[in-house]
Symmetry: none
Subunit: 163 residues, 2 copies
DNA sequence: TATTGTTATACTCTATAACTATA
DNA sequence: TATAGTTATAGAGTATAACAATA
């Protein structure tokens, strides 16, 4: 029987492996010029959706401001995100994508979706109809769960790409 | 009705969201004394179940042998895992938990399981038995899929993770 | 004094490439 | 030559603690 404990263990095993596979597929199919980690792409996506200050971004990602400052550093160094002091409260820093940042985000997002879709199609093609339906039905439950739970910290309109 | 396209779309929606929740939970579930990370605990658990050589362990975790060698280093340095050459093929190294390793694993397993399942229980507790079984069965398919395709979708020479 | 963010330091986990030892 | 594994090097991402600037 599938008790909560077994279910949790299976979630912990399958999800990280699936994401590692996706990360690998994306990484090796993209041009080096636009080298972006999945995490960086996600941060860029959040900021493209709406500019934020650092504290908000850290809270969204559920990490310390210190960690987020470091992560943002990379994007700023690549000139994809601009740090500007908030005129209303100069302790705060407004984080906003540059034009180049938006262009990279849009291009990479399309590329990533195509890569993911291709990989998933290859994998799912190995399943027969019954297996695919079984997987689908299980994912429907997961989808329902996620809808009721606040594990997601990215607006739903943002295509999700993550760590 | 669950064709591959629908299934892929559902995977792409649910997995990254799930991973964000799991990632945050795992980061904050780290014990205070920092004696053992969850990743290390998982490796120790795999080896307690059955000794492996490094290549098997790396393939199981879907990372490069190089990365796994580094990860195992930490456990060996703490004397929780022993590296011994395989008598049958001395290029290979058999990884096996020490007595201390087994003791630490058992003790930590309880603590971590309690902490982590408490977090997942909040989610999974919203499901009834039928739904939980449905999710579990779907994840079984995913697990099987990952076992069959890990070397196909990610070339062994080039797995990568960016988390 | 409290808040916001950065920097210093250190750790885990990852990758690629070069290397050693064995088959 | 080919395979199994390690080491060298690098980078992302994380944390705590000390710090500066602003409110």
């Amino acid at each position: 029987m599938a008790d909560a404990e077994k279910c949790a263990a299976l979630l912990m095993e399958t999800m990280p492996r699936m994401m590692r596979g996706l990360g690998a597929a994306m990484r090796h199919a993209r041009p080096d010029d636009d080298a972006l980690t999945l995490g960086q792409l996600r941060m860029l996506g959040v900021l493209c959706h709406s500019p934020r200050n650092l504290g908000e971004l850290a809270a969204l990602h559920n990490v310390t401001p210190s960690s987020m400052s470091r992560t943002v550093d990379v994007l700023v160094r690549k000139e994809w995100v601009a740090r500007t002091p908030d005129p209303a409260d100069r302790r705060q820093v407004i984080l906003e994508p540059t034009e180049a940042g938006r262009a990279v985000h849009d291009a990479m997002q399309l590329h990533t979706q195509q890569t993911f879709t291709a990989m998933l199609a290859q994998m799912l093609g190995q399943l027969n109809d019954a297996e695919r339906t079984q997987l689908y039905d299980g994912l429907l439950i997961l989808q329902k769960l996620l809808a009721n739970t606040s594990t997601d910290c990215v607006p739903h309109s943002q295509p999700s790409v993550t760590e």
